[in-house]
Amino acid sequence: MVAPGFCRLSLEAPKIAAAARPGQFVQVYMFSGRRPMLPRPFSIFNANPGQGQISFFIEVKGPGTAMLAAAKKNETWSLLGPLGNGFPAMPEGSLLVAGGAGIAPLVFLAASTQKERLLIYGAPSATMLTCPSSDLDLPGLITLEATEDGSRGEKGTAPELLAVKIKEASAVFSCGPCGMLAAVKSLCVSHGVPGWVSVEERMACGIGACVGCVIKTGNGYRRVCKDGPVFPVEEVVFDEQG
């Protein structure tokens, strides 16, 4: 556990580590015998092809994430991945906007380049800025924190901070709660800045077969697992997903 309710899980998965691109995810199979559970999808937080390792940054929310948080060293888990499309290449001067646990894919994205880039990391309060600072200690990355109660960093929300910074941005990459992504969308659209968001929805197959994880987009329902999880921000329709 890295913070209350959050853990970082590292796994030896050389093939996934070698193939993974930022924004992609992995299905973790639960195989719990007579009480089976669906596989759990997690964004890749970190991939190290040299060491053949990947890691997840997991918010413990239910029985599946609790099982993973209790995983012991040297246990074997079944993984399927990397899955999904991932983020496009990040241009110089990009802005990354993370809300809470939505930091996970953006850390992998931030680590994928040494170009100048700024990360806005927001949460309701300091205790919910749970990502270890060592993971954000990346060459050339500047991190600005925002908390709604002002307990750490700027007082306000991540989109409020984005509103100040977006004029200097070449592109925006974001992941977090729906309400935050909707605000990111309106800022990107009104400033004419290209943006990409990583969205989540409950999944079953994780590979595009069951069409259970769709979201509403300007191009109809699209599968988060196969057509996403990264979508151009202007494409996603947020209003009915509250």
Partner: protein, 318 residues
Amino acid sequence: MNRADLNNHGDLNLQVDLAGIKLKTPVLLASGPAGYGHEYRELLDFRTLGAIIVKGISLEPWTGNLPPRLAETSCGLLNAVGLQNPGVEYFLKEDLPALRNSGTKVIVNVVGCSPDEYAAVTSRLDGKEGIDGLEINISCPNVKAGGMAFGTDPKATAKLVEKVRRETELPLVIKLTPNVTDISTVARAAETAGADGLSLINTLAGMLIDTENQKPLLGNTFGGLSGPAVMPVALKMVWQAAAAVRIPVLGMGGINSADDALQFIMAGARAVAIGTGLFYNPGLPVEINKGLAGYLHDKGYNSLAEVEGVARRQKGAD
């Protein structure tokens, strides 16, 4: 299990004839979870399957339901995908060619809003190379009759099956809904109207409420429950349907192990299909084949037919 493992019990016969469709193994993929097969072919050798029953096909494309479409329950899955599908023309052009070479039999699930639509889809699929049979999903709401599902009324079931029957010579399997008072009368109605086989159960109607947001969890409010939670309900209905008809029964509903599959066969099913279990474990069909072959071997049987309905005979139910 790889083919070498299958050959360990090579003297054993897992082949079955389901409504005139010769199946290499008694394990099928149920309609829905695996879509049109493209994605799962990377995870699963389709040659280990008796058949894939592809996701429901309508005449025109259906957009499906508003998300969220999925919610996990205790030992189950609630879904309201809403039969999203690209329509029969797209299916014939884009999906069927790949399925022809997938190494397994192909059964196409047919959906519709009216008997005319079912008939039109059936007629379009009839005679197409690579289609081995049709499964008619009669759980769809009958729009002209106030939205009640065809399959909840024996008369509506009979009319629909008769109409579809006239459109094709293909083996016709009717998929029954469990949301009825008496499965036997619907089963008999389908048989009398010309069905070659029955498959059951479809999902059980259900819902969940998100207490944080104080609204139904699914975008569609109601959904269908599947997974191990429904298995005993499904097993009982397969037992009852098998008692009511002479045509073969394809059993499904929460099958998640070889022992589950065996229970359906002992209840009178000719073969079994898995759906939600595939999500839990894409290797499940292989595991079930292996478990069935192992059971037959250990008990000294030569074929699955010797076990079909055996529990019924024990109870003097036949």
